[in-house]
Amino acid sequence: MAGDVVLGFDGSAGAQSALGVAVTLARALGAPLAIVFGYEPNPMGGETSDFQNQLKRLGEGFVHAAATEARRLDRDVIVEPIVVGRRPVDALLETATERAARLIVVGSMGELPIVGAILGSVPHKLLHRSRIPVLVVPRPD
């Protein structure tokens, strides 16, 4: 399973664009495609289990839809949907390490840098923390 292309997918427009690019790259590299959704509730505010289950369900919906779409785009690419109960960036980095991935692909929200700084920007954090190449795909206009 080494050499995966890891795609971060959260259902946003940017993630949809990234999906197309990731499928093309996986095909070109002959690599499996791991489609990852990460979530982790704010630990402030106590117990979270029902909430986590809801998040997990939402994430499963996202990655399964993305996997179906990826197989439709190219049925030769091996696709694996993955939901990880960790913050998105940690989920991507952990999956990438686990699979000795060649590349992480994410979509950008196309928001102002200040908005990203306040809301927390996954591409931004990834670029700083990842030890492997990160490809950021803009959302369509």
Binding site: N42, G45, G46, Q52, K56
Partner: protein, 530 residues
């Protein structure tokens, strides 16, 4: 944070790597556990909101109440610990009571959580509004009801938006903010005491051991009222106990974290209350109950430095607002998942990944409640804190009873079970039940609510039955708010029962093991664990 070792297991079915019930991946260290527990309790805000009310009830014996009120808290925390262990559900008391006693009682317990979270919001908004004005030296505006109200509404809206969007402070920032809060409170107490002993401060008193002796409290009514108020200051501490279950080293961390956060909290409350009343006497605190720390800070620190304490109250209030909105939304989400309230409340926003619908509605209700209360009550803070005591006592007591009932078959297996699973929760629940009932009679006399407002003046009686004195002369706002909102839950539950039977088909069950995870709560199935 940088550790990236495998939580996602290689070829194993990766979807199972996500945490299911009771299987947490978000491991918390010791420091984080303590920080979350103490920050949720919000010491600076709690003192700002309630110190004057405790001295109003018991005068110089306030420090003794700070210690005394911790006892039921500690006992109930034991119930939280054992119930959470087998059923770590974010519905907490709602789910546990449904399991142990039944769906109707469980529904009311869930309602109790929601309205208690709602009732604290005006107090948070009020404190946030006042102390923001104090921070900028606008002391006149800090006493202006209208402008404090405006700022308070903005506060609720902003904090709700933060929770909807899911903005989080990093763990390090939280540790920093909480550390600053505690250090500032400690410096405040030290400077106040140094001045009391060192220089001549008007109306200052030297502290005495008698301040810690609860047996000097004059009447049981005053004691009940004071406990109900002081229970509020420890409210949120249970979070430290429950999130600890997720700790990295589950054998050691939970216990150590609970002990540490306890020492920090009881220490702060006792020392600050001693220092505060030593500085200007108890009456000063009672008379300035609205902005007790702001007023004291000006005299203790002098102009300029006093802003640090004001800032500590504000960061504390923001943490407290967050740890009110988040669990309220999660309780609603849990109730919705179990079909006890409409389905929409259980939805998660696809972009923000928060229970945005439940959170938004909680914000809307909070604004409506805050504005409404500001219009009709002269003492928003006072009435809210006292009313809050009823709500907390109600659902904490329910938690205690649920623990004893749920584990009834295990209590006599060994001494540890008997003490920690049986006796402690039961005694805690009984103390809170007593404080709840006794306070009804205390606050049905509006003279005991310092606001002295009276609603429903036609309700008047004065009878002695079996040696107990029952009286009412109109009703004070705290009682009406506290009990009234609880009672409103009954018709709402009935309406829901008629329309949606499913939740009410749950049947009570009991545990056969202290360790095995409880089976999912399924309607119509009387599941027994173990």
């Amino acid at each position: 944070m940088a550790a990236v070792t495998g939580l996602v297991g290689g070829d194993a079915p990766a979807l199972d790597a996500a945490p299911g019930k009771g299987l947490k991946s978000g491991a918390l260290g010791l420091v984080s556990s303590v920080v979350i527990g103490v920050a949720s309790t919000a010491p600076a805000y709690s003192l700002a909101a309630s110190l004057g009310l405790v001295t109003a009830a018991v005068g110089l014996l306030a420090p003794s109440v700070m210690v005394l009120a911790f006892i039921p808290m500690l006992f109930i925390a034991s119930a939280y610990f054992y119930l959470n262990r087998v059923d770590p559900d974010c519905g907490t008391t709602f789910t546990w009571v449904t399991r142990a006693i039944g769906p109707k009682t469980g529904w009311m317990a869930g309602w109790g959580i929601l309205i208690t979270d709602l009732v604290v919001m005006p107090s948070l908004a009020q404190i946030a509004g006042q102390y923001t004005f104090l921070l900028f030296g606008a002391n006149g505006l800090a006493n202006n009801r209208f402008w404090v109200g405006v700022l308070g509404v903005i506060w609720i809206v902003v904090m709700t938006a933060i929770c909807v969007i899911g903005i989080e402070l990093s763990a390090r920032t939280q540790v920093g903010l909480l550390g600053a809060e505690i250090v500032i409170l400690a410096i405040f107490a030290a400077v106040a005491l140094a001045k009391v002993y060192g220089s001549h401060v008007a109306r200052s008193i030297h502290p005495g051991w008698g301040w810690l002796d609860p047996f000097h409290i004059s009447s049981t009514g005053a004691l009940a009222g004071a406990i109900l108020t002081a229970v509020f200051i420890y409210w949120g501490w249970d979070t430290a106990v429950t999130v600890n279950e997720e700790a990295k080293d589950t054998k050691r961390t939970p216990g150590v974290a609970a002990v540490l956060s306890t020492l920090v909290l009881v220490g702060i409350y006792v020392i600050v209350s001693i220092a505060a009343q030593a500085f200007h006497g108890a009456n000063f605190l009672t008379n300035n109950s609205n902005d007790v720390l702001g007023a004291l800070s000006r005299d203790v620190f002098g102009s300029g430095w006093d802003k640090f304490l004001v800032l500590a109250v504000l960061t504390s209030a923001s943490a407290s607002t967050q740890t009110t909105i988040l669990p309220a939304a999660r309780s609603a989400l849990s109730m919705s998942v179990h079909k006890a309230i409409p389905e929409r409340f259980g939805t998660v926003h696809p972009r923000y990944l928060t229970p945005a619908y439940a959170t938004t509605w909680f914000g809307v209700f909070s604004v409506v409640w805050f504005v409404g209360l500001s219009l009709i009550s002269n003492e928003v803070l006072l009435d809210s804190i006292l009313a809050l005591g009823f709500g907390i006592a109600f659902y904490y007591a329910m938690t205690g009873y649920a623990c004893v009932i749920y584990y009834r078959r295990l209590l006599f297996r060994n001494l540890k079970n008997l003490l920690f699973v049986g006796l402690a929760p039961l005694v805690g629940a009984l103390i809170l039940t007593w404080a709840f009932l006794d306070s009804i009679f205390v606050y049905s006399n509006p003279a005991n609510a310092a606001g002295s407002q009276t609603w429903f003046r036609f309700i008047k009686f004065n009878v002695h039955v079996a040696g107990i004195h029952f009286y009412a002369n109109g009703l004070g706002p705290p009682l009406l708010i506290g009990l009234g909102l609880l009672v409103v839950g009954l018709p709402l539950m009935l309406v829901w029962m008629i329309r949606h039977r499913e939740f009410f088909r749950h049947t009570a069950s009991h545990a056969e093991s202290l360790h095995a995870a409880a089976p999912p709560l399924t309607p119509g199935v009387s599941a027994v664990t173990g």
